[in-house]
């Protein structure tokens, strides 16, 4: 029973990180209809920057804030410089371009910081809570991770639903031509979409780095799980991304705990295929009429 509780709780914690990465992917998909394979590398760079700030100033929270700001700037920069030229090109080109960006960023990080993973501090204690004499696998830091991700999801939902900026972003994503005619600066909205997504990614990086260590390739598995979660949730739906991220985290935690960690990638495949066979547009698909 304790094992079940432990697996559930640690699954929720990793699921929250998947949810943050999935959110980043969903935001970019909504804004530009591009699956950003460079997301893992982008959040790796911002986490390295955070690590440098933390080790030179000794302040975790300063590093945390710098990571988020770096993500904001980096996301906008990437959209303006490399994504803008291929926005009108066939979709596969953008996929290859983000793969190229991923490769370049991993190589640059290796050149600057080396390929050996290093440790990264956690915000709060990594010692599990004591409940009735047994120690849970859930730590204060896990609580922090879950709360932060939920807060980000709520803030994003509020921005998209209740602010003028959110409305403009939705309009730009839904129908760029009409939005442009109505005075929405579509290009700017795309840049903002990428910047917000990169912030969500940067957050995921800082949150997960203590448990995976920090190296150029450390975040690849997180990106894959995040992508699977985003697809599971239906790529158009931020709440879907969060829910699917949590479900995936818990399910994979059970598989890893009861059947062995070797089966985790296979289990992710089975879950994804089963869900997509029943609902080809994910759990929360965008409603869309069939155009003839």
């Amino acid at each position: 029973m304790t094992k079940f509780v432990d697996l559930t709780l640690s699954g929720i914690s990793t699921g929250a990180v998947y949810a943050a990465v999935a959110l980043a992917l969903v935001l970019i998909w909504r804004a530009t209809r591009i699956v950003n394979f460079a997301q893992g590398a982008m959040l790796m760079i911002t986490t390295f920057i955070a690590s440098a700030v933390i080790s030179s100033t000794g302040s975790y929270w300063l590093g945390f804030a710098v990571a988020l700001v770096a993500g904001l700037v980096f996301g906008a920069l990437v959209e303006r410089v490399v994504i803008r030229p291929v926005e009108k090109a066939p979709p596969l080109n953008a996929v290859i371009l983000t793969l190229g960006l991923y490769t370049l960023l991993v190589a640059v990080a290796g050149m600057i910081w080396g390929n050996t993973p290093r440790s990264f501090p956690a915000a709060f204690s990594l010692r599990g809570y004591d409940v009735g004499g047994t120690r849970l696998l859930f730590t204060p830091n896990d609580t922090f991770i879950v709360l932060v991700v939920i807060a980000v999801a709520v803030v994003l939902a509020v921005v998209f639903r209740y602010t003028s900026l959110g409305l403009q972003m939705r309009a730009a994503a839904f129908s760029p031509e009409v939005a442009r005619l109505l005075g929405v600066r579509v290009g700017q909205m795309l840049t903002i979409g990428w910047a917000l997504a990169a912030v969500a990614g940067a957050l995921a990086g800082v949150l997960v780095a203590p448990s995976v260590f920090l190296g150029p390739n450390s975040f690849d598995p997180i990106l894959i799980s995040g992508f699977v979660a985003a697809v599971l949730g239906g790529l158009d739906s931020p709440p879907g991304a969060v829910i699917a991220g949590l479900i995936l985290g818990v399910a994979l935690s059970y598989v890893s705990g009861y059947a062995g960690s070797a089966l985790v990638p296979l289990a992710a495949l089975v879950i994804l295929v089963v869900v997509l066979m029943a609902r080809p547009g994910g759990l929360f698909p965008a409603s869309r009429e069939r155009r003839v």
């Binding site: 790529l235 070797a262 990638p265 495949l269």
Partner: protein, 348 residues
Amino acid sequence: MTASVRATLARSTLLRSLAWVVLAGAVLLLVSDLVSSYNDLELASGAYYFAVLAGLTILAGQSGQISLGHGALMAVGAYTVVILIGKGGWPLVPSIVAAVIVTAAVGVPVGAAASRLRGPYLAGATLAFAVGLPALADKFSGFFGGENGLTINPPTPPSSLGAAFPLERWEAWIAGLGALVVLFVLHNLTASGFGRALRAVRDDEIAASLSGLRVGRLQTLAFVVSAGCAGLGGAMLAVVLQLAQPGAFPLQLSLSLLTGVVLGGLGSLVGAIWGAALLTLLPNWTTDLAHSFSLSTQVSANLPLAVYGVVLILAMILWPSGIQGAVRALFIRLRARRAAAGPAVPGS
């Protein structure tokens, strides 16, 4: 004389495919004789990459489906060959044929699932396939050899070629023959009604299904064909490297296959040749380049990757339709310039 040959070739797709295959075969034979044994190995790896890329370019370019899972399909072909030769004692050719059949059979359920999915959903599912399938080799490590994989003995050149015939050239011939078979089959297939139906589905699924094409079945079939090609490529890879192990088929391989297809030029078999050449040569070039500067190891170890990334980014911005697209545009511009200069009419 030449005019009548040209007319015959224009009429018969089969003859045109044969002509291409004979031409390509002659070039391969000549090149493999001229170059060093190291280049022969490069030729062999170019050949098996071509087989996979040609299948993938049909899938992505003609049927409009994306696959990030072809590396895993290559693994299926490679393991089949290695198990049949190493454990079953089968001869080379039947086991390669069996590898193609097994991989195509694996492609049936995958393709049926894929035909229900679109764009990023398909990308996600095939990505999970590429990551998930190698986990099987770990789970059943008793049969698949776990992380270390399985090995076989190198193929022996027939004694009629002489005792001094280099192994590498023989491997290049085997892989080259496989590539020629793929070239022949796919060239015919794309020019046939099947290819036309695929392109119709790619361009407008609803119009295609309204005109009586069975979209799901066609897409599944396209996936099965390209899976068979990937199985052949994987089988030849296993024969050339004499080994099948999970580490040889990482997600990176699947991604670089897709990259090769798009960089070469989507949907064209010539583009697949460009892509195969790039996948074979680019890593070596960038490594040589990195070593030619005197840099710290931390920088020089990562420089090839950086160059590769920059090449991908620039290529997608500068040549959105790949190398073959750029070459074609160049030809069209040259022809237009010649036409603008006026036809060379005698006596005018």
